[in-house]
């Protein structure tokens, strides 16, 4: 009967790594005659591989003399590399070190396969990373535009029109105000979109006005806790408001729908959450591996005492 502790230890990726490393190292020595001093071997497999790379680059197989040249070059590289290692030239070389570190990290990533998450784990992860998965607040609205360039008193004109509308709520507003290249209505656009289109001040003023209205059932932008889990629209039921100032002039605004920040339910976004969870877990595993290795070293920075 294997104790749970031992079983956990058996599953530890670092252990697997050390065992595999040892096996590889022994196996490598057995298989590789290169380790015999002053003996270089270019196997047929290697020759074929060099020829294949040549073919991919040049679009045709190498000729016999070209193969000779490739093999000669390969031998040259191996001899010089061996001698270089003998001289310790691979030590304290930043490029060599970085490449080796990278190879080890790749190897470990392959070994440390991250397990499948449970729903409980995913929900906890989702709760911790809400901002990454929330649907931003959206607004549907119509507006009437009053062009400052064409009117001496655009704000006063806008206020007057507003008063008229409020007195006759059934009136057709389509021909009021001025024309522009702006759309006359916007459907479920984000606050960021409104900022980009009309300017930040306009977006801020409209939202703040909305949040302050006692009659509306709408969550204010600051109140993230009041998120909605159903997708039914939260209408405001209030009429035209304003005037609000944008980069273009003055506007009266009628909000048709405000949909607050939404956090989708786990089932509807499970794949996205799982994929993000795996990515984070992999990063954590890589870091844990490194920390374990680091733990076996003494580190001295600056002059040795």
């Amino acid at each position: 009967m294997i104790s749970p502790l031992f079983r956990d230890w058996l599953r530890e990726p670092l252990l697997h790594f050390v065992l595999i490393g040892a096996l590889l190292s022994v196996g490598y020595r057995l298989v590789n005659e290169d380790e015999v001093p002053n003996r270089i071997v270019i196997s047929q497999g290697e020759v074929d591989s060099l020829a294949a790379q040549w073919r991919a680059r040049r679009g045709r197989p190498p000729s016999p003399s070209e193969i000779d040249a490739l093999v000669t070059q390969s031998i040259r590289t191996k001899v010089l590399a061996r001698e270089a290692r003998a001289f310790g030239l691979d030590q304290n070389d930043a490029v060599v070190e970085r490449r080796l570190a990278q190879k080890l990290e790749f190897l470990f990533s392959d070994l440390a396969r991250v397990t499948e998450p449970t729903d409980v784990e995913l929900q906890a992860f989702l709760d911790e990373h809400l901002e990454d998965f929330t649907e931003p607040a959206r607004l549907s609205f119509r507006h009437l535009y009053f062009n400052r360039d064409e009117r001496d008193a655009a704000a006063a004109d806008a206020s007057q029109v507003l008063a008229t509308i409020q007195m006759t709520p059934q009136m057709n507003t389509d021909t009021l105000g001025d024309r522009s290249l702006l759309a006359t209505r916007y459907d479920l656009v984000t606050i960021a979109y409104i900022e980009r289109t009309f300017g930040k001040a306009f977006a801020g003023a409209v939202i703040q006005d909305l949040a302050q209205r006692p009659a509306s059932r709408v969550a204010s932008q600051q109140n993230v806790g009041e998120q909605s889990h159903d997708s039914s629209p939260t209408s405001t039921g209030d009429g035209w408001r304003g005037p609000f100032e944008s980069a273009f002039g003055l506007h009266l605004v009628l909000i048709d729908e405000y949909r607050p920040l939404q956090i989708p339910d786990l089932p509807s976004i499970r794949d996205d959450v799982a994929s993000e969870w795996r990515r984070v877990k992999q990063m954590q595993a890589n870091e844990a591996f490194y920390q374990t290795l680091l733990g076996t070293y003494t580190v001295v920075v600056g002059d040795e005492q």
Binding site: Q53, A56, R57, R58, G59, N147, R148, D149, D174, T175, R179, S180, L181, L182, T184, R196, T197, F198, G199, S246, A247, F248, G249
Partner: protein, 498 residues
């Protein structure tokens, strides 16, 4: 200092590459593991960022054709996702899996579409670094132009980059002496590595407006216009940042990021010739009219050329051409509706002239960038091939802000003025207009002549990035450094054929 060395290394690489002297051992070529891995990583980055409806990221690559330093770069853009893009490695410069001749790139593009059933298009960089080989009208790479060249060129290159950091490429004062706005961010020193300096006879075949005109001549000769391209702007930045506003300019590469000294450091320098740092333009953007923010929709818009270029502002511009626009249409609350109903949008071809229609009419409108300068004026630039076989151009002021009157002698509309406070890098929108809209009819129309029309929108003067740098870093810029910019937009042309 490490940063200086990095910039020097990059310059050395570009110089070596330009002259085909790049060390063989360091070349990363198709067919190698390194190349494949890099391509896969690029594809993955685009797939990761692409979020249909929210943020579109295209897969693509830059094909950096340099012939003795003459720049013929194209950016290849894929409509497709990873599954198709991975099937064929990009085209390079080195035979057999590459070639500096654009005709070979088009062959690669055809091969890609055949192999994958996908779609790609190529956008050439601003031709001002090509030293006159961007718009050949007789020979290209030693071979005479033929029907296949003109057909292939427009088939694969529906768009052209008319403005970017390395200068504005719409026109040059030498080519357009009557255009008072022609000399904007003009780079005319030489080619990319300054191995050959600029000569006047190169200009005609490397500027956008002139290229559009040459296209008419070739259309007359071959039946197809190879240069009937739509226009976009871009940065050509190699920083991974889209930061081309005057007050948010991060330069072309890491050496050009904001610093007190960046205006002085040359972008390239050979002997006595250089591209000074201050001459970089904080430009530009590609604007696209598409139904939705997805790869498919934006790519389709690029293919039909419903695009416009800006030099870094986010103006909204509409341009429609038809035979019966009337002045009342400019009062319409839904100008785009009447535009599409009565005509074709930017990038389109005018319908056949109906009975009784006198001349083409155009509905044009521009709205200012919400955080930018007001609009000074909208112009329509006409280019045509006259009955004597000569290429002509004319810039028409269509509508302008305020109550300026056209000068009866010169026909010009006076400049709008200047509210820029250079020392503080500010301006006020007390001149210019929030929005301009108008209908214009061509007063010199001749139904026998091939012609194109594009709209050019010009903003009031605003501070240039050099003014923002000077203010921020407390610098004293020499007199020759421009401190004021007049941003502009250029729409894709609308074409007329008899």
């Amino acid at each position: 200092m490490a940063r200086k060395e990095g910039v020097a290394a990059a310059a050395e690489m570009i110089a070596a590459f330009s002259q085909d002297k790049f060390p063989e051992e360091l070349k990363s070529l198709p067919g190698t593991g390194l190349y494949r891995n890099t391509w896969d990583a690029l594809i993955e980055a685009a797939e990761d960022a692409n979020d249909p409806g929210v943020f579109t990221a295209f897969i693509g690559y830059e094909w950096t054709s340099l012939v003795k330093g003459n720049n013929l770069h194209r950016v290849v853009v894929y409509r497709d996702g990873a599954d198709r893009a991975k099937l064929l490695e990009p085209f390079t410069m080195t035979p057999p899996l590459g070639n500096p001749n654009p005709r070979e790139l088009w062959k690669w593009m055809a091969k890609y579409e055949e192999k994958t059933a996908g779609q790609v298009l190529a956008i050439a960089h601003n031709g001002n670094m090509s030293n006159g080989i961007m718009f050949p009208d007789d020979r290209a790479f030693g071979k005479r132009l033929d029907k296949k060249y003109v057909e292939d060129r427009i088939r694969w290159e529906p768009l052209y980059e008319i403005t970017q950091i390395k200068g504005d490429g719409e026109t040059h004062p030498f080519l357009s002496p009557d255009d008072e706005f022609a000399d904007y961010e003009t780079w005319a020193v030489g080619n990319l590595d300054l191995s050959v300096l600029k000569e006047d006879d190169m200009l005609e075949r490397e500027y956008g407006r002139s290229g559009l005109k040459l296209g008419l001549k070739l259309q007359d000769k071959f039946g197809t216009n190879p240069y009937q391209f739509g226009l976009i702007g871009s940065t050509d930045s190699h920083t991974g940042l889209a930061a081309a506003e005057e007050d948010n300019f991060f330069g072309k590469h890491s050496g050009g990021e904001p610093s007190a000294a960046r205006f002085e450091h040359p972008m390239a320098k050979v002997g006595q010739s250089e591209y000074p740092g201050w001459s970089m333009a904080a430009s530009g953007w590609a604007a696209v009219w598409a139904e939705e923010n997805t790869r498919e929709s934006i790519f389709a818009a690029m293919q039909r050329k419903e695009t416009y270029a800006t030099t870094g502002s986010r103006m909204t511009v509409r341009f429609f051409g038809g035979w019966d626009f009337e002045s009342e249409d400019s009062a319409n609350r839904l100008p785009a509706n009447v535009g599409y109903a009565k005509g074709v949008p930017m990038g389109g071809n005018l319908a056949a002239q109906p009975e009784g229609a006198k001349a083409p009419t155009f509905l044009v409108a521009a709205m200012k960038d919400p955080i930018g300068g007001n609009i000074d004026r909208i112009q329509i630039v006409k280019g045509w091939l006259d009955d004597d076989g000569n290429l002509q151009e004319k810039v028409h002021d269509v509508i302008w802000s305020g109550d300026r009157q056209r000068d009866s002698r010169t026909g010009k509309v006076p400049l709008v003025g200047n509210t820029v406070d250079v020392a503080n890098a500010t301006w006020t929108n007390s001149i210019g207009a929030t929005e301009l809209i108008s209908v214009w009819e061509d007063p010199d129309f001749d139904p026998n002549e091939l012609a194109f029309y594009y709209a050019r929108v010009i903003e009031i003067p605003t501070p240039r990035w050099t003014a923002y740098d000077a203010k921020h870093f407390g610098l004293d810029m020499p007199d020759h450094v421009p401190m004021i910019a007049t941003e502009r937009a250029y729409t894709s042309p609308i074409y007329y054929s008899p």
